[in-house]
């Protein structure tokens, strides 16, 4: 067994009124990949924030030991000097600057400390880009590359600071399977080159694949550390430790009856609003029955979100054409308020920037789409609004101090429940749920699935867009496979499998090449 690059000993951190971490011990072996897992709010981020000196020395109890030496980190600079870098879930890149500029931001390559040496900057950047397998020009702007590549730029940025211990917080949460695999392979590769990483993730399949050790924390305390090759590591085992009980089924059972076709889309086309020569959706034909949960699977960029948003009152797209039928009757839906009136709801994949008003409280977020139903003459009935807020808080189990809490202060899972409440309160007949469980822990996921099932049982039609294939397979009655703006396959729950879905995608890619 190798030596410990990092030991965190007896770490205790108290916030006013809450003990976030209680005597946590956490040890990372040199040149290993160490996964840190736990439910939202278990204390993972707090622990990592202590390590990277977001919470500086003195605000917590316990010791941080790097290479056997007790360290005092007063600021992020101190921890960086020891070769520790953290990559947060929200990337810290400047979109309008080039890759090279971002890589050496705050660490500029200079001549005599005064003038930036751009040649050196570019040469060093391109060397490192090669190392991580990112095939982009150094002066490409960060906003022009995809999320997966941006993640790699973040890693290059850390490499530029001679990092030895890399901490990644949910690095694959927003990535599709291909990009995720690439990133995980890179971590394994970096490991061989002497870079240790700590990875925080909810995606247990990825963790079981790459991690050498897995530490599980729950309610601010370390539960156990599993070692690859010693312990029998399975997803069920990890989940059990995380939630403190056994979850028999990751997807709750549903007893519902699928009815007649309710929502039907025919020959739907749409173009990119920024470039109306680029067709984003090509001749889409789909239908959804009453009480049915339909999944739309596909890689990132397949056009799934674009499809849902274009159907939701043309909230996305230019030159849209095609027909929408509800109960067999053609509908004209020209803007979002039309869509809401017709009983269509859309829960965005991006709850922070497009789903919620973060500075506003829970109840006002819930009622926003359907204020009309609260109207008494001219006035919004604020008492009724509070009652509705309370009702949904209980019904969907939104963990919060009260309905007056700002949604920006809630955890991801609870924010998602507010987004759901908002959709449900609008009393729709069809719901488009875009990545409904992204970045949410196992327990909250289960609750979200339960809500989806309840809605289906009530006869609502539900469309689930998800990049997590197990979720699509576990939740849906029928699955459409999308690729490059087209529907390339349709599967029933019984015949669907991850392989089949990927097969459809690969096949359509091949056809496109021909």
């Amino acid at each position: 067994m190798g030596k410990y690059i990092l030991e965190m000993r007896n770490i205790t951190k108290t916030f006013p009124g809450v003990k976030a971490l209680d005597n946590v011990n956490f040890r990372v072996i040199q040149d290993h990949i160490h996964a840190l897992v736990g439910e939202n709010g278990a204390g993972k981020s707090t622990l990592m924030n202590i390590l990277s000196a977001v919470y500086p020395y003195g605000t917590y109890e316990g010791d941080i030991v790097v290479d056997g030496e007790v360290c005092v980190f007063k600021s992020i600079k101190d921890s960086e000097a020891k070769g520790i870098a953290i990559i947060h879930q929200e990337l810290a890149l400047i979109p309008s600057l080039s890759i090279a500029e971002n890589v050496f931001l705050g660490n500029e390559q200079t001549d005599k400390g005064l003038i930036i040496n751009w040649d050196k900057t570019r040469i060093r950047t391109s060397e490192m880009l090669k190392k991580v397998g990112l095939n982009e020009r150094t002066d490409t702007k960060v906003k022009d590359i995809g999320l997966g590549k941006q993640q790699l730029v973040e890693i290059v940025k850390a490499l530029a600071k001679d990092v030895r211990l890399l901490i990644l917080d949910e690095p694959t949460a927003a990535l599709n399977d291909k990009d995720s695999d690439f990133l995980l392979d890179l971590l394994v590769d970096l490991k061989e080159h002497g870079i240790t990483s700590i990875i925080i993730s909810h995606k247990l399949n990825e963790i079981t694949k790459v991690a050498d050790e897995i530490t599980i924390i729950r309610d601010g305390a370390t539960i156990e550390t599993l070692v690859k090759g010693v312990d029998n590591i399975t997803e069920e085992r990890i989940i059990k430790s995380m939630v403190g009980r056994e979850i028999v089924d990751r997807f709750p059972k549903r007893t519902h009856k699928v009815g007649d076709v309710f929502f039907e889309v025919k020959h739907w086309n749409a173009f990119d609003p920024l470039d109306d020569t680029k067709q984003v959706l090509k001749d889409i034909n789909i239908n959804i029955r009453k009480g049915e949960v339909v999944g739309i699977a596909g890689l990132m960029g397949a056009g799934r979100t674009e499809l849902a948003m274009s159907l939701y009152g043309k909230a996305y797209g230019a030159k849209i054409s095609g027909q929408i039928f509800m109960n067999g009757v053609e509908q004209r839906i020209n803007d979002v308020s039309d869509a809401i009136d017709k009983g269509i709801a859309y829960a965005t994949e991006d709850r922070k920037t497009a789903g919620l008003i973060l500075i506003d409280d829970i109840k006002r977020n819930i009622t926003l789409t359907s204020l009309k139903s609260l109207k008494r003459k001219l006035v919004i009935d604020s008492n009724l609004e509070i009652k509705i807020g309370e009702e949904y808080r209980k019904k969907l189990n939104i963990k919060s101090s009260s309905i007056l809490q700002k949604t920006g202060d809630l955890s991801g899972g609870n924010q998602q429940k507010v987004v759901f409440s908002k959709c449900i309160f609008a009393d729709p007949d069809i719901l488009f749920l875009d990545e409904p469980t992204r970045g949410i822990d196992v327990g909250a996921k289960y609750e979200i699935y339960t809500i989806i099932n309840e809605l289906a049982e009530k006869g609502k039609s539900i469309v689930v867009i998800s990049s997590e294939l197990p979720e699509i397979l576990g939740m849906c009655d029928r699955i459409y496979v999308m690729n490059k703006g087209m529907i390339v396959g349709e599967l029933t729950a019984s015949e669907a499998s991850q392989e089949k879905i990927m097969q459809y995608i690969m096949q359509s890619n091949k056809e496109a090449v021909k």
């Binding site: 920037t353 008003i357 506003d360 926003l368 109207k375 001219l378 006035v379 919004i380 908002k422």
Partner: protein, 389 residues
């Protein structure tokens, strides 16, 4: 208990500003040796600041929408003042027609800027900076560089007049006292109703002691204020206008759907759009509203001055913007109240008036006002950082 604390924290900014206002009033009352709160001066204070308060209400709505400001309102005040004077003095129109036409001019100006901002998508800062230059220029052209005066009494009445009394008693205005009494009764009934409603739905209410204290304090303030007005010439007309506007706009922003849409848009435009709010329309009407209120302020200001001058309204936009930010509006939008903007405006007004009485020069007044703005917003920023840790 936790709930009470979180409630308090949310409102602390507004309470802090009211406390600051009371504090400033007391200080100047002492420094001016009691002149500040003399009945005559209170009337003056109201008439001097009414047009800024009217502008601040409109400006608040602009600021609520993602922190947009309107830099053109000072020039609009000047232009509308000039137009109304031309209508009356050069074109011999009846005063009421001139006033209606002036308000329509404000509507058109607001719609013009609203189209550029909401539908064409030019940043509000640029559109209204352009507006500032355009409308100032047009004012000069319309007035040909000279002032137009004097205006008929029926025109200046709105700005400088008083509501006529119902009885003729020496030294005291009966109507004002009555109005004060009625205001107190309405206020108490409203408070009791609110409390009863909350109890009915089983929500938290403040302790009975705090409740009584609030009622007694505010009733006393209303009575003292109305007595002060009554012992001079009664209720200034322009006070009626401002109070009516405050009530209407508080109601709209607080209780109605358009109001909620403005806050939602300011809080997160993308989420608002996906919630079915017609965001462009919201932005457009906010600027139309600003145009109409700027026109009203123009009429009040011209009436108070009893002349329309090429420089009329110069720099007013900055006072209105400052009033909103001092009163707790967020520079990024979505946060702020009408009452807050009024409190901010009054704070600036009392500072101005108090310093003038003390004989502080205009130059120093500018510097001190700027400093107060900085302190107020700085206080807010610091208290927010504290709340987070």
């Amino acid at each position: 208990m936790k709930r009470v604390r979180s409630l308090l924290r949310g409102n602390i900014r507004q309470y802090a500003m009211i406390i600051a206002l009371i504090f400033v009033i007391i200080i100047f009352e002492i420094l001016t040796k009691g002149i500040l709160l003399k009945p005559l001066n209170i009337s003056n204070l109201i008439q001097q600041n009414a047009y800024i308060l009217i502008l601040a209400i409109g400006m608040l709505l602009c600021i609520l929408t993602i922190g947009n400001i309107d830099l053109s309102v000072g020039s609009v005040v000047g232009l509308v003042g000039a137009l109304s004077a031309i209508f009356i003095l050069k074109m011999d129109m009846p005063v009421w027609i001139a006033i209606i036409l002036s308000l329509i001019a404000g509507f058109i100006i607001g719609a013009w800027q609203g189209v550029w901002i909401a539908y064409i998508g030019v940043p509000a800062f640029i559109v209204t900076l352009g507006g500032q230059l355009i409308f100032r220029g047009l004012t000069m052209v319309a007035l040909q560089g000279t002032s137009l005066a004097p205006l008929p009494d029926s025109y200046t009445f709105m700005a400088a007049g008083f509501v006529p009394d119902i009885a003729n008693i020496e030294g005291i205005n009966l109507l004002t006292l009555l109005a004060g009494g009625v205001a107190c009764i309405l206020f108490i009934i409203n408070e009791i109703n609110k409390r009863r409603n909350k109890k009915k739905y089983d929500f938290d209410v403040s302790s009975i002691g705090a409740f009584l204290f609030k009622i007694v304090a505010i009733t006393a303030a209303i009575l003292a204020f109305s007595y002060a007005l009554a012992s001079y010439r009664g209720i200034p007309m322009v006070l009626l206008i401002v109070v009516a506007l405050v009530l209407i706009y508080t109601f709209v922003t607080d209780k109605t759907i358009p109001g909620r849409h403005i806050y939602a848009y300011g809080g997160n435009p993308k989420a608002a759009r996906l919630s079915g709010i017609k965001t462009k329309r919201v932005l457009f009407w906010v600027y139309v509203n600003m145009g109409v209120l700027a026109a009203l302020a123009g009429i009040v200001f011209t009436g108070r001055l009893n002349s329309a001058t090429p420089k009329g309204g110069y720099g007013f936009e900055l006072d209105a913007i400052a009033a909103c930010f001092i009163g707790g509006a967020s520079t990024t939008g979505g946060i702020g109240t009408v009452v807050g903007a009024i409190v901010g405006g009054l704070l600036m007004g009392v500072l101005n008036n108090g310093m003038s009485i003390m004989g502080v020069s205009i130059d120093w007044q500018q510097a001190i006002k700027g400093f107060v703005l900085l302190i107020a917003v700085g206080f807010d920023v610091i208290s927010k950082i504290r709340a987070k840790v």
